[in-house]
Symmetry: C2
Subunit: 722 residues, 2 copies
């Protein structure tokens, strides 16, 4: 998952470009993070369960209601600019307030400072400025307290101590479509089958989908109920299906009616009373318009189908933010989102959806609980930042949000026990995984491991923002905790980290979690790795994982140790198992031992389980990173490596997106073709025969390993033999 | 100002009743402090200056958008209750969610828990619950994070670690008038004089006032401009008056038109163009309906007029919150509000307006600047809490907001220099007073003095909430700082605290500020007091104070030393001076040496000065506390003292309001009459002759001082001789 060392990352970070600064056209801008928090509130408070409002159980923050935006311009010629704002606003040119609420302002030639101050309680204060060269974009500065007091003579204070950040923005380039009007796109879609029976209709859209149900030609007087089902069984279970709509129709003339809330379903069961008539049913499919830049295709049709269904699953769950699942919570869960981030780097590479999700998860200070109240989910947030920087190179994000990282890690540090370890205190949910009988007592090794990795991330970010004291402190804390991890949990007899310590004593209980993470965290020496592989990962007597969530990491650990052949079989077995049961998207939980309707139940409810859960889509990540074998070794793919591994396939081909351009690869047992649009890559491969590549130098690294340097814009064709 | 010792206060605090708990009828409730912050945003972002929007320059916080309310009821019989909520909501009875959004719920007999969870981004989540005995009031518990997660079987977490506070409420007892619809009251009023001249009208309302201008019978086509003036000069100065309205009229039929924003004025100058016609002009006077419970009347008509104009001034500035002045900022300034609190205890005794103002000032964590960005204003906030508790006995307020006190004092402690003193860092406004050439450099003694008092307040509150470690820490910090105050600033030669230290060296500069505060803080020994009195307070060569703001404390210090005769003359001179200039309310600044229009100018603007400023109303406080001589000696007037001082008057009479009932007093040189509706009072007075009081024991205290214990509900008539 992250094999590069911190040292390498830091060395190369000076090349990191600021991807947020590529903008040149006018955009709506706001205080960074504020639109994300506001939109997160809107989305996460839209959940209903059988008609009842079901909001999150953690604190939701808000935007700053009063915002000052400014930029200094140096103009060759005077320029008239048009101003738009969401909220009450005033305009200052060179600190002098203009009368009223000007809609246009002329900036003279020379150096001038334009300030716009906006108040908006209900929505995020935002501005849009459009001139010939003067435009609003993320190079503007913003603050929520300008501290511009005046003395009795009217003089403005000279030293305000105000902190200015760079403005946040996204893709709002239309002055008449401000951020508060944001909506996902929609597209009409028809069902594949409608079955009528008396006063009911069962409508099948052919696959898992999401959107607004539309009733066409609705008329008459009476009640209409719409029962949604991810399965036919759920749609028909009118008393236990998870979501529904209820209408009271009183209309003589036929009208089309669109449901107000979008929902997840494959089937809808519509039941109506009185003389109600409905001509037909369709839907408005609702989605975030992000393209699949990544691709994967191979000689195994089942694997192709797994990749396609995984991509569809991730797309359905990639909405205002990366959500957990489309039917039920539709909340932003940090552990779930973390996996979506990783998958998305191999599918959409849509950095704004990652940063939007990170910001909405974090909220604002003060920290009063773990993210989503879950201890592990706080740590996944840090891990997500680590990867976000590596994949996107967005240093501005680190600069702007380092204070929020500091306060969150401080919250964790304050909760350590006398041994410096974290236990679940009242209010802390120790989650780990949905697994029967999993102990959360005492000092769980998995939590300390993630905590250690979070401290390493803090050290990395502290270096980036030149917080030298912080960097030293975090490095020391991380090193100390890493030492304790092995001193406290490593059981040489079991060749594994044990699950926990209780009252200072290690238990004898071994679980997969900390062991598999310690592999791709590179915390183990080679002997320990082999021990863990044999005694834990490939040991069926250690409790099996039944969520795609933790299968993700289990299979990643095995891939990181070169077990692509084994993992491919597991993948076909597990994800293929869901496909055989008719899955059109991947599930929250899949236990091959369950039968029939057992697959739909969870949380004590017969249809509680989500059949379209983001964490089900991990094959995208595994196939991109460990089969196509492409990953960055410096931020934003300024350098990268490709180690293709067929894992038993005859051939495979695919595309890995990067901030700069795509990396394309074809690989069979005899040939590797590579074309890259970014950075400097290393193609590393094994060959029994001496490889041949026209126009490229091939370096032998011993043991049959060869390397070729891949330059941007060039195509390579390697003949070799496996 | 506060003569009782901390020890006494603590001893008696066990009698403190919780005045917020007196409610029995249903009220709208919310998270405490949230409505106050929301309303504060609304009010403080309503300022315009010549049509331009002029918001504050400090951070404005917001309400929590997602709120859980609950209460456990034990019912003798089942009860149907009606539910109202501002926002999306759900209802749980005994942790089981009810379907949909129920408007009524029946609670069975026995013990049951009712939870209502509300989401509202735009307004404060609030509920109103009305049953026979089940009602929403401040005994309900609220939290912004209930942390009610469930495990895979649907079980709710047993130990959530959630902090519940008691709900906030005010006077919203109508289910159809929720908090978001709050408005001040209005009342139509007519001008005393309207002068027409061509296409203009000059309208005089006879005195300073506040409200919405109404144009009657407005018709025609053309522009109308309304120029507001606290003085006639300002209304006529169309290019420099501070506030105005501009209308574009296009109406054939005559209509009445009310301006959208209320403003301060005595005069309005209306100018119109084209064929515009206006029949007449009136206003809707806008006010907070609080009664003058306190009163003062005496043998000197000028003093009576001063008291009346001061009461009117304070009432005009007592609105959604205590504001600074009605014309210009209309913001909540902590230093200004602090004085309004003290005055209000002798006029309205409206505790909610005090607590509302304290909460809006404080906002939320994290603390990123001093209150209003001003160092001294942070400290006045602590002082305000000290007095609020003493006058009202509202211990719940301390309990609920102690964490916000802690984080604010922590912000101050973090800003100390290596000597443990506070200097103005970038972003800190060291205000003290509007005074020409006043130095703010280095360690200003006045700021350390207020800081010390704030630490003492923290110690007091820590004791109240039983934070023993905190109490010990704050006491130690306060004692240390108090020692330094005298070690660093006391100049024996000058018999005064000097103004500041710069680079660790005391200056030779003496100002009145720290010296006068140290008197009523009781920080000086008797010799020092006399020294300060002679060498500073009564020494004309020490820079004179020209704001009623600091006159307040200067005269309080003199009153505290028994100089009521001197102070009465000063009061007549200073406030009487404004009256002689035609003041109908008291001003932001009054310098008797200024002439004509100089009285209107400030901040470099010809009409920048406010002619109706809350801090101008201090005679209310001085006359109530130091002439009628009534003040609490235990929280909520459970015990109190009355030391009448005529200060040269022939007689005076008045009422001092308390939470429980009024204290009425009449005092002449021969007779004192007292009637009390609260607590246990001590009447202390001097008499040359042996006093007589039927039915009361008179205790001689020596030196001609006598005391009588005043019991609640009884009347006393004392004959004595001055």
């Amino acid at each position: 998952m992250k094999k590069f060392s911190i040292a390498v990352l830091l060395l190369i970070s000076v090349f990191g470009t600021d991807i947020l600064h590529a903008q040149s056209k006018a955009a709506w801008i706001w205080y960074p993070g504020d639109f994300e928090i506001w939109l997160g509130n809107k989305m996460q408070n839209r959940r209903t369960e059988r008609g009842a409002f079901l909001p999150p159980f953690w604190r939701m923050d808000s935007h700053y209601v009063l915002m000052d935006f400014h930029k200094v311009f140096n103009l060759a010629a005077p320029e008239e600019v048009t101003l738009y704002a969401e909220g009450s606003y005033n305009v200052k040119l060179d600190s002098k307030m203009l009368p009223g609420r000007p809609q246009k302002v002329t900036i003279p030639a020379g150096e001038h400072r334009l300030n716009i101050k906006v108040y908006n309680q209900n929505q995020v204060p935002a501005i849009f400025v459009q001139g010939k060269t003067v435009v609003s974009d993320s190079t503007w500065k913003v603050t929520y307290e300008d501290k511009e007091w005046i003395d009795a003579t009217g003089m403005v204070s000279s030293q305000s101590g105000t902190k200015w950040l760079q403005a946040g923005s996204w893709n709002f380039h239309d002055p008449l479509m401000p951020p508060s009007r944001f909506k996902l796109d929609v597209q009409p879609q028809l069902p594949v089958k409608t079955t009528r029976s008396g006063q009911s209709m069962l409508v099948d859209f052919g696959k898992e989908t999401f959107g607004f149900i539309q009733l066409h030609g609705l008329k008459g007087n009476g009640k209409v109920a719409i029962y949604y089902g991810e399965s036919q069984e759920e749609a028909l279970a009118t008393t236990t299906c998870e979501t529904l709509d209820q209408l009271d129709v009183q209309q003589a003339a036929a009208k089309d009616s669109t449901m107000p809330l979008s929902k997840a379903f494959r089937f809808v069961n519509i039941q109506y009373e009185g003389d109600v008539k409905i001509d037909s049913v369709s839907m408005l499919y609702e989605y975030l318009p992000v393209a699949n830049r990544g691709s994967f295709h191979c000689s195994d049709e089942q694997v192709n189908q797994i990749w396609n269904v995984a991509a569809y699953t991730l797309h359905l769950n990639t909405r205002e933010f990366f959500i957990d699942g489309i039917k039920r919570d539709r909340w932003i869960w940090s552990g779930d989102a973390y996996q979506s981030f990783l998958m998305s780097y191999y599918l959409f590479f849509d950095a704004p959806t990652v940063s939007r999700t990170l910001l909405a998860l974090r909220g604002k200070d003060p920290v009063s609980s773990h993210i989503n109240t879950i201890m592990d989910y706080t740590f996944y947030w840090f891990l997500g930042i680590y990867d976000y920087y590596l994949y996107t190179g967005d240093e501005t994000f680190i600069q702007q949000f380092y204070p929020r990282m500091q306060s969150l890690i401080e919250f964790c540090l304050q909760r350590r026990n006398k041994d410096g370890m974290l236990e679940g205190l009242p209010g802390d949910w120790v989650f780990i995984d949905w697994a029967d009988g999993l102990s959360k007592q005492g000092e769980v090794s998995f939590e300390q491991l993630l905590f250690c990795r979070s401290l390493e991330t803090m050290a990395l970010c502290a270096d980036l923002v030149k917080d030298n004291a912080g960097a030293a402190q975090y490095k020391q804390l991380a090193a100390g905790l890493r030492t304790k991890l092995f001193a406290y949990y490593w059981n040489a007899g079991k060749q594994a980290l044990v699950h926990s310590r209780i009252n200072g004593n290690p238990t004898n209980y071994v679980t997969r979690y900390s062991n598999m993470f310690s592999i791709f965290f590179d915390y183990l020496n080679e002997a320990q790795k082999q021990g863990v592989k044999q005694h834990v990962l490939l040991n069926d007597s250690v409790q099996q994982i039944t969520t795609p969530y933790m299968r993700f990491y289990e299979l990643e650990a095995l891939c990181a140790m070169g077990e692509q052949n084994y993992v491919l079989k597991e993948m076909k077995d597990y994800w293929g198992g869901m496909l055989k049961l008719g899955a059109t998207s991947f599930w929250e939980k899949y236990d091959p031992k369950e039968k029939g309707a057992e697959h739909y139940a969870m949380y004590g409810r017969p249809f509680g389980r989500s059949l379209c859960h983001a964490w089900g889509a991990s094959p995208i990540y595994l196939l991109g990173k460990y089969y196509l074998g492409v990953r960055p070794t410096a931020p934003a793919y300024k350098s990268w490596i490709m180690e293709p591994a067929l894992g038993g396939l005859q051939w495979m081909e695919g595309t890995v997106p990067t901030p700069d351009g795509d990396i394309k690869v074809y690989c069979s047992t005899k040939q590797i073709k590579v074309q890259s649009g970014t950075g400097t890559g290393i193609l590393r491969f094994k060959s029994k025969s001496k490889p041949v590549c026209a126009g490229a130098e091939i370096n032998a690294r011993g043991n049959g390993v060869y390397e070729i340097t891949i330059e941007k814009g060039k195509a390579y064709e390697v003949k070799y033999g496996l």
